[in-house]
């Protein structure tokens, strides 16, 4: 959670938050998997909403972000919109969120990539093919999941800032040399990433199972979704994109 007091982000607090965010992402996956692919949701020729050109999911995400923006969501530095162009200003009194991030790098937003990845790569793995007509609810489920994934990936800015403050001498030379590869190496801990993937898969298995009263069937029974989708999401996209955000953030850190 964004904090009001300065410097309440630490290596430990950031790690803890990332672990908590796993739960949110997994619930989001499970709730989206409740619906089949419902491809009309993503088809801009289908939507035909007066005054709007785009698919139904774009309509729901963009308009919901507008509502949330007015309520102050994006004043929290941990939140990043998918459609930042023309976002309405907040109409609520501002809350003193901690300004922990370096100003030059705080506004990094790679949500266009996240959006593409979500539609092109994740959904085909997650949703079984079919159509049940519930396009609005599908789009709402997409929005929740997209927001959870986006928040996790952009949390890389906070991770990077904590790491930089901890050991600026390790990062500064690489930053000044614009050495992306070098920074990526410094940020990569294969064993930690493996631990994350394993934990995500375990949680996904537990949250995803169909729990009944017949205890003989626990853990062997049906599942609401394929738990390996969660670990693949992390391995192929969430972890790499979080690191990409960290690298981009660090490259601007000494400006």
């Amino acid at each position: 959670m964004a904090k009001a007091e300065e410097n309440v982000y630490t290596l430990a607090s950031v790690r803890e938050d990332l672990i908590r965010q796993e739960d949110t992402i997994i619930y989001g996956l499970i709730e989206r998997a409740k619906f089949p692919s419902n491809s009309h949701t993503y088809d801009e020729k289908y939507a035909q909403i007066p005054g709007f050109s785009g698919s139904l999911v774009e309509f729901v995400v963009k308009n919901t972000e507008d509502v949330q923006a007015k309520a102050g969501r994006y004043t929290n530095p941990e939140e990043n919109p998918f459609f930042p162009e023309n976002l309405p200003p907040t109409s609520v009194p501002s809350y003193p969120f901690s300004q922990f991030l370096h100003p030059g790098a705080a506004s990094i937003n790679i949500n266009k990539s996240v959006w593409k990845m979500y539609l092109r790569d994740l959904l085909p793995l997650l949703a079984t093919s079919g159509d049940d007509g519930n396009y609005a609810q599908t789009a709402a489920a997409d929005l929740s999941l997209l927001q959870a994934i986006s928040r996790r990936i952009h949390y890389g800015k906070f991770v990077a800032e904590v790491k930089f403050r901890d050991a600026p001498q390790d990062y500064e030379p690489l930053i000044r040399a614009k050495d992306r590869e070098g920074l990526m190496k410094l940020l990569t801990f294969a064993s930690v990433e493996e631990t994350v993937r394993k934990r995500v898969e375990k949680k996904a298995t537990v949250f995803g199972q169909e729990v009944g009263l017949d205890s003989d069937n626990d853990g062997k029974g049906k599942s609401k979704f394929d738990p390996t989708v969660a670990s693949r999401l992390y391995k192929n996209w969430v972890i790499p994109l979080t690191k990409e955000v960290q690298v981009e953030y660090l490259l601007r850190r000494v400006d």
Binding site: M1, A2, A4, E16, I19, R20, E22, D23, T24, Y27, I30, E31, K34, H40, Y46, I49, L56, F59, V60, N63, T64, V67, Q68, A69, A71, G72, R73, N76, E79, V92, P93, Y95, P96, F97, G130, D131, D132, G133, N134, Y135, A136, Q137, A139, A140, S144, K202, K203, V206, F207, Q209, E210, V211, G212, L213, D218, K224
Partner: protein
């Protein structure tokens, strides 16, 4: 959950969603998970009182845009502020028209809203303010929508019962005998015990994996015992009373 035929937009389409004892029970069981996850997500935030100055407007605006996206064409969905929405027009997608009679349009969301804020939320949520009012509001809305869906599923359950045993319950309906109808629905008590035990078990199983501290077990089954199950039953009875209208 239901058998559906996949056809293209140009062809005449018919939804074949089936509502029977099994599918209704399966849907309700699946909704338990949705409610539990939504509850876990809401308690991530403290009470955040300034949220409640915004919430009504926020829900109205969100429902208006979800209406435009045809959410409420599905008879399983019920808005909290129907008076804020344009008149319903012909649905684009042919959802199964399973519900019959004047009870199909029952909407007790005003009561659910009251109960949620007055009784439910104080039970689950810690005091405090972390500034995340928009996120809190949406966590509330997600949970409210899940609870509302569960409770209004009573209409589908009631219709299944009516079709199964019309001969028995029709006289009660004509006599507007609420008590007799409650008794007619008594098999629900057995069902309700099953539901509560399963909810407790789910909270325990999911709770073991949770990354946050919150002792939920007792509280979540109270959610069902005190509010969800009685309100579902209320919807069932009201639905049946209007079934022949």
């Amino acid at each position: 959950m239901d058998k559906l035929e996949l056809r293209c937009k140009e062809c005449p389409r018919r939804a074949k969603a089936e509502y029977n004892d099994d599918t209704v029970r399966a849907s309700l069981a699946r909704l338990e998970d949705t409610i539990i996850f939504a509850l876990f997500e809401r308690v991530k935030f403290p009470l955040n009182p300034p949220t409640y100055d915004l919430l009504g407007d926020l829900v109205r605006e969100t429902e208006a845009l979800q209406f435009e996206a045809h959410r409420y064409d599905n008879p399983e969905e019920n808005p909290f502020f129907p008076e804020n929405l344009p008149p319903f027009s012909a649905p684009e997608y042919p959802f199964t028209e399973f519900l019959q009679g004047a009870g199909a349009s029952i909407n007790i969301n005003k009561e659910i809203w009251e109960v949620y804020f007055r009784e439910l939320l104080p039970k689950f949520v810690k005091c405090g303010d972390d500034g995340n009012y928009a996120q809190t509001a949406f966590a509330d809305l997600t949970l409210l929508q899940a609870i509302s869906k569960r409770i209004h599923y009573g209409k589908f359950f009631a219709e299944v019962r009516f079709k199964e045993a019309r001969i028995i319950c029709e006289p009660y309906i004509r006599a507007k005998d609420k008590e007799a109808l409650m008794k007619f629905l008594t098999t629900e008590s057995v069902e309700n015990t099953v539901v509560m035990r399963r909810v407790e078990k789910k909270v325990m199983v999911f709770g073991r994996e949770l990354s946050q501290e919150h002792d939920f077990k007792g509280d979540v089954s109270i959610l069902y015992e005190k509010w969800l199950l009685p309100l579902t039953k209320k919807v069932q009875v009201e639905y049946l009373l209007k079934r022949l209208d």
